[in-house]
C-alpha cells in the first residue's frame, strides 16, 4: 500500500489519467467518429489550446509562495490577435521565422512583468495577475473589436500538420521539449525547491526572486505558444480570444494533481488534467447536454479530483504512522 501511495505521490496525475482514459472510451462509444484517424488531427488541434494554456499556468504555481498566473489565457489571446492583425498580413513580418520569435518574446515579456510584480514588488500573485488579465482584456477588445479574418499564412499549414505529425501535437510538444531540456538543468530542481519551501531555498543561497521571475516568464512564453494554437484554430481576430481558457487552465492544473501550494507536479499533470476537461466537454456536447451544465461538470470534476488527489498525495512521515 505504501508503495502504491508513493507511486501516486510522485505521479499525482494518475487520477486525471484514469479519468481521461475512461472519458476517451466514453467519447468513442457515444461518438464513434471521434476515434477515427481523420478526426484525430482536428481533435488534437482543438485540444492544443487547453493543454498549452494549462502548461503556461504551471510554472508560476510550481514556484510556490501562492504563485499563480491568472492572465495566461488572455496572454494567449493577445498573442493570437497580434499575430493575426499585425504580423501575418505584413509580408516578411508574417513569416514563421520572424513572427514566432516576436510573439514568444511578447508572451514572455507579459510573464516577466507578472514575475516582477510578484517577486520584486511583492504583490499578491492573484491580485497582480488579475490586474494583468484586465489590462490584456482591454487591449484585446481595443485591437480586435471587429473580427478580422486571418490572411493566408503558415498557420493554415500548421493546422494541416507536418506530414504524418498533426499540428496540434507539434504545438503541444514545444513546451514539453523545453521542459525536458530544463529537467537536465539545475533550474528545474531549484524551481521545485523554491516552491516546496522558499525559506529553506533562500537560506541555502538560492536567488528565490530570480527563480520566480523566470517561472512567470517561462509561463508567459508557453502562453504565446497557446496563442499560436488559438490563431491557428480561429483564423480570425477576436476581442474575447483566450477568455474561455482562463479558468479552465487553472482547473486543469489542479485536476492534474499539481497542488496550488507549489513544489510538486509538472507539465504532464497539466496535459492530463486538460485532456480530462477537454474530453468531458466533448462528451457532453456530443450528448447535446446544455452548455451551462458543462460548467457544473468542470466544477464537480475538480472537486472530486482535488479531494482524491489530496488523499493520495498526503505525506506520511516515518514514526508518526
Amino acid at each position: 500500500m505504501s508503495e502504491i501511495r508513493r507511486f501516486l505521490r510522485t505521479r499525482s496525475f494518475a487520477f486525471a489519467l484514469l479519468l481521461s482514459m475512461v472519458l476517451l472510451v466514453a467519447n468513442i462509444v457515444v461518438l464513434p467518429s471521434f476515434g477515427s484517424p481523420s478526426n484525430f488531427d482536428t481533435n488534437l488541434m482543438l485540444f492544443a489550446p487547453f493543454a498549452l494554456v494549462a502548461m503556461a499556468a504551471t510554472p508560476a504555481i510550481l514556484s510556490g509562495g501562492g504563485g499563480l498566473d491568472i492572465s495566461v489565457g488572455l496572454n494567449a489571446g493577445l498573442v493570437s490577435n497580434v499575430l493575426i492583425l499585425y504580423l501575418l498580413p505584413h509580408g516578411a513580418w508574417g513569416s514563421a521565422w520572424v513572427a514566432v520569435p516576436i510573439v514568444l518574446a511578447l508572451g514572455a515579456a507579459i510573464g516577466l512583468v507578472n514575475g516582477l510584480s510578484v517577486a520584486v514588488l511583492r504583490y499578491q500573485p492573484v491580485i497582480a495577475t488579475l490586474c494583468m488579465l484586465f489590462v490584456l482584456q482591454g487591449v484585446n477588445q481595443k485591437i480586435a473589436g471587429a473580427p478580422t479574418a486571418s490572411p493566408e499564412s503558415w498557420t493554415q499549414h500548421l493546422a494541416e500538420g507536418f506530414g504524418p505529425i498533426p499540428g496540434g501535437l507539434v504545438l503541444i510538444a514545444v513546451p514539453v521539449v523545453v521542459w525536458i531540456l530544463l529537467q537536465r538543468l539545475p533550474y528545474h530542481r531549484v524551481l521545485l525547491a523554491v516552491g516546496g519551501n522558499d525559506a529553506t531555498a533562500f537560506s541555502s543561497g538560492v536567488d528565490v526572486t530570480r527563480v520566480r521571475i523566470l517561472a512567470y516568464t517561462l509561463g508567459g512564453a508557453f502562453a504565446a505558444v497557446a496563442g499560436i494554437a488559438i490563431a491557428t484554430l480561429l483564423q480570425s481576430s477576436d476581442g474575447n480570444a483566450g477568455l474561455e481558457y482562463v479558468l479552465i487552465a487553472l482547473a486543469a492544473v489542479a485536476l492534474g494533481g499539481t497542488p496550488i501550494g507549489g513544489g510538486r507536479g509538472g507539465l504532464l499533470g497539466a496535459i492530463v488534467g486538460a485532456s480530462a476537461i477537454f474530453l468531458v466537454q466533448n462528451l457532453l456536447s456530443a450528448l447535446h447536454v446544455d452548455a451551462y451544465w458543462l460548467q457544473v461538470a468542470y466544477g464537480g470534476m475538480l472537486i472530486v479530483g482535488s479531494v482524491i488527489g489530496a488523499q493520495l498525495t498526503a505525506p506520511r512521515r516515518a514514526g508518526t504512522a
Binding site: 505521490r9 538543468l185 539545475p186 533550474y187 530542481r189 531549484v190 521545485l192 525547491a193 516546496g196 519551501n197 525559506a199 529553506t200 531555498a201 533562500f202 537560506s203 541555502s204 543561497g205 538560492v206 536567488d207 530570480r210 527563480v211 523566470l214 513544489g263 510538486r264 505525506p315 506520511r316 512521515r317 516515518a318 514514526g319 508518526t320 504512522a321
Partner: protein, 515 residues
C-alpha cells in the same frame, strides 16, 4: 574557501565582529557584540532568549544587515553581509533551530540545494550522490535512500539533512544555531565527533545551544551574551556552569543534578488510567496510572514512540489500548481530543509555531481563543474581560510583554510558550500533557515554567511531560517513562534517577557505563 592569512596575527582568527548592533523598530536586538572566532575552534555563544544570539547569527549569515559595527572575515572587513548567498561565498554556513527542508524533494536535492547555479550543474551527479551518502553515513550512522522525499523522515533525520547540507559545502565557518535540539542523542554525538574532526582540519564552529552539558562537552571557548551585548568570553576549564549562568542572568539558579533526589510522597488518587497501550503492532502493552499532583516524564532517544504515547493519552488515536479519565464519581473513556478536552485534559504541542501559535493574532487573542466564551456578553467579546484574565497569568508565569494587543510574534520563544501554557491553564485543566515545553526556551523562562509546574502539581494537577533534556527530567519528575523502539523500556522512580542511569536507559542499558 581558503583560511585567512595567518602570518601577522599572533592568534589566527577566522571571523571577528566589532560592536555589531541591530534594532528592529523600537527593539534593540543587538547593542554591541564583539567577539572573535579563532581558526579551528568551537566557540559557544550562550545567552537567554532575547539576548541577541539569533540576531547575531542572522547578521553573520546575511539574513539581517547590521545597523552599526563591522564583520571581519576571510581577510576582509565588511559593514554587512548582504545575503545568504554572500555569506555562503565567504564560507559561512549555518544550520538553524528551525528545520529548514523542502518536504516534497528528495534527500539528495535537499542536501545540494543552492550549490548549483541555475543553468548548469556545478557538481556531477555521481559526486553529489557519493558525498551525500558519505556525509549522511557519518552523521546518522546509516546510509539512507537518497531518493526518498524528506517529508517521510523523522524530525531528527530531517534536521540531520539540514546539517548534512551545511557539511557538504565544506564550510570554513560552521554555525550551529540550536541545531542540536531536534537531534536524537546518538546523532548529536556523531555530529560532535564531526565538529571535532573539522576543527582539527581548521574549520571554526560557532555553537549556540541552551544546553549547558553540550557546551561543556564541545565548546573550546564560550562567549556570553546578555541583553544584546557580549559580556564575557571564557575558555573551557576557566569557567564553571554556575558562573556561566550568573553571567547570562545575573542570578544563580541551576540545581546540582549529580545524584538522585528523594522520592516525593504519592497521592493515592488516580486521575487517568491508560491500559494496554500498544505503540505499534506487536509491541508490549503499556499501562499507566497517573495520580493527582504527580509529574511524569516521558523520555528516550528521538522518535522511539514517546511522542505517540503522549498523544495517545489525549485520545489522538493511532494506537491500541484504552485511556480512561477517572474521577471520584465516574469514569470517562478518552477516545478523541474532544473527549480529552471535556474531561479536563489539555495538551501543549511540540511545534510551537505550527501547532500552538496563531502568528497573525495578538498576544491576548492567542491567550483567549479556546476560552473566549467566558469574555462574552450577549455573544459579543469584551476585551477588558480577556485582559483581566490574561493579566493574572502574566504575573503568575512572569510573561514579559509590552501590550497584550501586540502580535504574538513580537515575543521571544520562551514568552510565546508561556502564553500557550496560560491559554490552556485558563481552561482549568486537571491533567496537563506537555510535549517538550522548554525546547528552545531560555534558562530564565525555563525556570519560570518549572516553578509553575511545581505550583500546579501542589494544587493536585497531574502532569505528563515529554522532555528531551536530561537535567530537566532529573530535576522535575516524580518518575520517568523511558521509551525505546516503541516499547516502554523502563520506568525510573525519582529515587533512582541520575544522569548516567537515565542516559544509559535510552540505550537500553541497565547499568550506566563507566565514563
Amino acid at each position: 574557501m581558503s583560511s585567512p592569512d595567518t602570518f601577522n596575527a599572533p592568534v589566527a582568527f577566522a571571523l571577528r565582529t566589532v560592536d555589531l548592533a541591530k534594532a528592529f523598530g523600537p527593539t534593540q536586538a543587538v547593542r554591541a557584540c564583539s567577539f572573535d572566532l579563532r581558526a579551528g575552534e568551537v566557540h559557544a555563544i550562550m545567552g537567554e532568549n532575547g539576548s541577541g544570539k539569533s540576531t547575531l547569527v542572522k547578521m553573520l549569515t546575511g539574513v539581517h544587515r547590521p545597523d552599526r559595527g563591522s564583520i571581519e572575515v576571510a581577510g576582509r572587513t565588511l559593514s554587512a553581509i548582504r545575503s545568504p548567498r554572500e555569506a555562503l561565498g565567504l564560507g559561512i554556513v549555518a544550520v538553524f533551530q528551525e528545520v529548514l527542508v523542502v518536504p516534497p524533494r528528495s534527500i539528495l536535492d535537499n542536501l545540494w540545494l543552492g550549490i548549483d547555479p541555475l543553468h548548469r550543474d556545478a557538481v556531477s551527479r555521481g559526486e553529489r550522490v557519493e558525498r551525500a551518502s558519505e556525509t549522511l553515513l557519518e552523521l546518522t550512522g546509516a546510509a539512507p535512500d537518497l531518493g526518498r522525499p524528506v517529508e517521510e523522515l523523522s524530525l531528527s533525520d530531517r534536521q540531520a539533512c539540514c546539517i548534512a547540507r551545511a557539511l557538504i559545502r565544506r564550510p570554513a565557518i560552521l554555525v550551529l544555531d540550536e541545531a542540536t535540539s531536534a537531534l536524537d542523542v546518538a546523532t548529536r554525538d556523531r555530529l560532535f565527533a564531526i565538529v571535532r574532526r573539522l576543527a582539527a582540519e581548521g574549520t571554526s564552529t560557532i555553537f549556540i545551544s541552551h544546553r549547558m552539558d553540550e557546551v561543556e562537552e564541545i565548546g573550546d571557548r564560550v562567549t556570553v551574551m546578555r541583553s544584546g551585548e557580549s559580556v564575557a568570553t571564557r575558555a573551557r576549564g576557566e569557567v564553571r556552569a554556575a558562573e556561566l549562568v550568573r553571567l547570562m542572568t545575573g542570578a544563580e539558579h541551576l540545581t546540582d543534578t549529580g545524584h538522585a533526589q528523594p522520592e516525593r510522597p504519592r497521592s493515592a488518587e488516580t486521575v487517568l488510567r491508560a491500559s494496554g497501550i500498544r505503540l505499534r503492532p506487536g509491541a508490549g502493552e503499556i499501562d499507566l496510572d497517573l495520580r493527582a499532583g504527580e509529574i511524569v516524564g516521558v523520555a528516550g532517544l528521538e522518535g522511539q514512540g514517546q511522542d505517540v504515547f503522549l498523544r495517545a493519552l489525549r485520545g489522538a488515536g493511532g494506537v491500541a489500548g484504552r485511556v480512561v479519565r477517572v474521577t471520584p464519581t465516574r469514569e470517562v473513556e478518552i477516545d478523541s481530543p474532544w473527549a480529552a478536552a471535556r474531561a479536563g485534559i489539555v495538551y501543549v504541542p511540540r511545534e510551537r509555531r505550527d501547532e500552538a501559535i496563531f502568528g497573525a493574532l495578538s498576544i491576548r487573542e492567542n491567550f483567549t481563543l479556546p476560552t473566549v466564551g467566558r469574555d462574552t456578553v450577549a455573544g459579543l467579546v469584551r476585551p477588558s474581560s480577556s485582559e483581566r484574565r490574561l493579566s493574572g497569568y502574566v504575573d503568575r508565569l512572569r510573561i514579559k510583554l509590552g501590550r497584550s494587543s501586540d502580535g504574538i510574534m513580537t515575543l521571544s520563544g520562551g514568552n510565546q510558550q508561556k502564553v500557550v501554557i496560560a491559554r490552556w491553564l485558563a481552561s482549568q485543566p486537571r491533567i496537563l500533557l506537555l510535549n517538550d515545553p522548554t525546547r528552545g526556551v531560555d534558562l530564565g523562562a525555563k525556570r519560570d515554567i518549572y516553578d509553575l509546574l511545581a505550583e500546579l502539581t501542589a494544587e493536585g494537577i497531574a502532569v505528563v511531560m515529554l522532555s528531551t533534556e536530561v537535567d530537566e527530567l532529573i530535576e522535575l519528575m516524580d518518575r520517568v517513562l523511558v521509551f525505546k523502539e516503541g516499547e516502554l523500556e523502563v520506568e525510573l522512580g525519582r529515587g533512582s534517577l541520575t544522569r548516567s542511569v537515565l542516559v544509559a536507559s535510552y540505550f537500553g542499558q541497565e547499568q550506566p557505563a563507566d565514563v
